[in-house]
Structures are given as C-alpha cells and as structure tokens.
Assembly symmetry: C2
C-alpha cells in the first residue's frame, strides 16, 4: 500500500490504470497531471483521480511511483522535468508502445535521481481519454517490462502492481520489445490506417455503404485504424527502425503472393494460405 501515486496523462491507459490501482487498494491517493483541462475534469468527475494538476512541480516528490502515460514523444522530456524534484527512491515508469526512447541523460540519472522501470502494458481500445477508461482494461493481458537493472527492487514493485491488477508480466530488452511490437501492433496499425484511405479514394459508386459490405476484414481494419492519431504518429516515428525493417519484409511477402496470383499459381497460393492457417494454429496452441 503506497501513500501516493501520480499518473501523468490520465488518458485511456492512464485513467484505466488509476481505476484498477484504486480498486485493488494499491495506494491512498492518486494525482493526475495533464495539460488538457477537459481530460482532468473527466478524470475528476468520474472519481478516477483524487487531485488534478496542470504542471509537474515540487509536489511530485511525495509520490512513491510516477506512471507516465503520455504519447511516446513526450516521455523523455517529462522525465527530465520530474528529475528536478525527484529522489532516487521514487520509481518512474511509463506505458509507451516503443521502449528504445530514452536519452543518455535520462539513463545516466537512473538510480541517482529516480529509479526507472520502462513498461508497456499491452492493452487498449480504439477510444481515448479518461472518459473511456475501463477498470478491467488490463485483466489477463500481458505487460512487458524492459528494465536496465533487471533485478532491482523497483522492477519487483512495478511487476507486482501489474500482476495485482490482473496482468501477466514478461521482462525483455528494449530492442526485443520494439522488434516484437513492430509486427504485432505497429505494422498492423500502419496497414489499417492506410487501407481506410485507399478505400476512400476508390472509384466506387456506393462508397458510403462500403462498411455494410464488409464481414470482418475491412470492418476490423477501420476499427484498428481509428485509434488516436497523435499517439500513433509518435509510435511510427519512434519505432521507425524496426517498423521499416518489418514493413520491408512484409512488402517482399506481398510481392510473392501478388506474382503468384498474377500468374494463376493456384497450388503455390493454396500452400501459402494453408501454411498461415498452420502457423496460427501452432501460435495459438503454444502461445496462450
């Protein structure tokens, strides 16, 4: 039981985290910091946070743990601001979808001005903001931690909190995380965002009815592709290295099936699709 936890950016993830933390009685008081007054109002009105602040200031030194739940491009700079007021006993953790994002300065202060435990609870919906927060958002999902000091007390604490709110925890390197996310999340989102635009530019009479004529497929893609634009712009830029590599591999694979279709290579296509079904089966059996 902690006295106080601060959530910087109590949006969909941050506010859901606050709800889950409160329900599990992990701390007494939750502070929310956000530059958006509207989001802070939502969080206060839904009783998600106990106190709302616009800025990071000296008061942050009373929080045992600080969760940074902003778009990834802001995280490093926020840590810099916190570091003026923090001490080495305070844990700073984040929830960003890209993990190789920390400056040398931030890493060199780790253990001196704060204890840094980078994290990524893999959960979310296509909605955003505190008004869409869900208490059960994290239940039975996975959380990846990418600590620089794997056996530290701070890692144990953050891991315990995520387990307490129903998550399974996996520890890996930042690079392994960013590689995995490039295929399981970032490329699918890139494709989904793109295909909705492609559909809209097609020369089709019944364009506004497109969504009706979709069983799964396109409908799933539009849902994925309606996620928060700012958050995803940041992710695409910050994980550029692995996202571009994975995209290139995907485009090569697309070229193969494209050529097979063009040349009516029925057997080759069938074998490709059959293999996919097998892979899925093996992933499902081993994975979950």
């Amino acid at each position: 039981m902690f006295k106080e936890i601060t959530i910087i950016g109590p949006g969909l993830i941050g506010a859901s985290l606050a709800l889950a933390i409160r329900s599990k009685k992990i701390c007494n008081k939750i502070i929310g910091i956000d530059s958006s007054k509207k989001n802070l109002d939502d969080a206060i009105n839904r009783n998600i946070i106990d106190e709302a602040r616009k800025d990071i200031d000296a008061r942050i030194s009373s929080s045992s743990i600080i969760f940074i739940c902003t778009p990834v491009s802001s995280i490093d700079n926020i840590i810099k601001k916190i570091s003026y007021f923090s001490n080495k006993n305070q844990i700073i953790t984040d929830v960003g979808s890209v993990k190789n994002i920390f400056s040398k300065r931030t890493l060199s202060n780790n253990g001196l001005r704060y204890s840094l435990v980078p994290g990524h609870p893999i959960a979310g919906t296509e909605h955003s903001g505190a008004r869409n927060a869900e208490i059960d958002l994290f239940k039975n999902k996975w959380c990846i931690l990418t600590p620089y000091k794997k056996r530290s007390k701070s890692v144990k604490i953050i891991s315990k909190i995520y387990k307490k709110i129903g998550m399974k925890v996996s520890v890996m390197s930042t690079l392994e995380h960013d590689k995995i996310m490039s295929i399981t999340s970032h490329l699918p989102h890139l494709i989904a965002f793109t295909i909705v635009g492609t559909a809209f530019n097609l020369n089709i009479k019944k364009k506004n009815e497109l969504i009706n004529f979709s069983a799964g497929g396109f409908k799933d893609f539009t849902r994925i592709g309606s996620s928060d634009p700012k958050m995803w712009t940041d992710i695409f830029i910050k994980n550029k290295k692995y996202l571009m590599k994975t995209l290139e591999l995907f485009l090569k694979d697309i070229e193969v099936i494209k050529r097979d279709i063009k040349n009516n290579k029925v057997e080759e296509i069938f074998n490709l699709l059959k293999r996919t079904k097998k892979i899925r089966k093996s992933i499902l059996e081993k994975g979950i």
Copy 2:
C-alpha cells in the same frame, strides 16, 4: 413455402443457410449435395439437411431453388451439370464472394434451362464446415444480388428469402460487387494471410509468444488469416483483376506513409492518420 430446396456444398455458409431456411419454415425438405462424406454426415447428424447426396443427378429437378455454396472456382461447372436436368422454372443462385465468374454458356442458358440469380450473402467466420454452422450467421448482415435480369420474379423470390432470414438486400452489377469486395474483403484477407507468414519469418526469440504481445492488431489479423485456404485461393484468382488494381493503390499509399516516416514528417503522418479517423466516422455515420 417451397416443397424442396437443394444446397450444393452445405459447408459453413450452406449449412447455416439451411438452418436459417428451416427455422423460418421456407421449405419442407432440404437436400444437401457434397463430395465430402464427412461434411454430409455432419450436416445429417446436426439435422441440418433431410437428405444427403454425393452427386448431382436427375433428382435435382424436384427442387424449386438450388443454392450453390461451394468455392467459387467450381460454381460455373456445377451449373453446367445441373443444366442437364433442370428446367426454366428452377432458380439457381450461388453465394460466391466473386460475381463475375459465369461463362458465356452459363449466361446463355439463363432463362432457358434455369433462372440464374447470382448472390453473395456477406457473412462468415474463420471456421468452416457444417459442424460450425450457425443459425444466426446472416442476421442483420447484407446480401448483394447481381442479377442479369433485375426485375425478374426469381430475383424477388431470392431477395425475399434473404430478407426472411434477417438480411438486408442490395442489388448491383457484378463489376461493382467485385470492385467493392476487393477492398472490403479480398485485400484485407490477402494482407492478413501474408502478415502471419511475415511474423513467422522474423528473427525474434519469443516467436511462439508473439500472439500474447498483441492487443488487437496482429490478433485480429491472424483470425482473419486463418480462413479456409481453398476458398480464398479461388477468390484471389477469380477476382484477380480488381484485387490487383486495389492492391496497387494500397501499395502506393503505403509508399507515401513509408516515405513520410523515413523523413520524420510528423505533421504529414498526423494529418494522414487524422483523415482516416474522420473517414471512419463519416462511413459509420452514413453507412449503418
């Protein structure tokens, strides 16, 4: 109320159709024809069909309506077989996901040896076979009919049946249908099938755990990508023309966002993603 209806290929779609038709008391007797004994057994055991046959023969002349629910590459040939026994009062309809698939011979017999009403009830799951049939599969979904004689009595009958089992019906040309499907269904499936293979070829330590680290995104893709390989091979080949055109447009759009990411064009990416969100909103508001 019809005396008899034949379902050729009582798989997921055909058997679900039989269940829905029976529950709405649209006919007295349902015949199932399939080359797979196992699937026929499943259909008989689940009481989906009243009689199972291996072949198309003279007995088919007693059915008022014949639904062809096989992979699209077989449909035209099946109509040829039926035509030896059928008469102009019998309606032949299909449920194929590609509609520009009929030979000149098939079209020239329309109105003489049978009345052809090509159709596509847009429904399905990633599962196949009579054992996975669902009575409510078609409820509140759309069915597209692409008749060559739009105002015929047969079109009215087929349209009425689909409405009776809960579908909304839209009539359009075969080409318009195939163009729409290329973006709402065929390209999303092509991408989903491909990306699972790409994931499997990645150099990742925790490959078998990939699916765990996926909230939406990849998980949705693997589900879509585990659909029936034979059915989808046929669809890709049969709708080659529009699928390839749509794929080219998509790849052009991917090149644009790829270039923007490579060059850190934050504003351009943000605007692209924001537009997608808007398009989805407008599609959802107007469409459903």
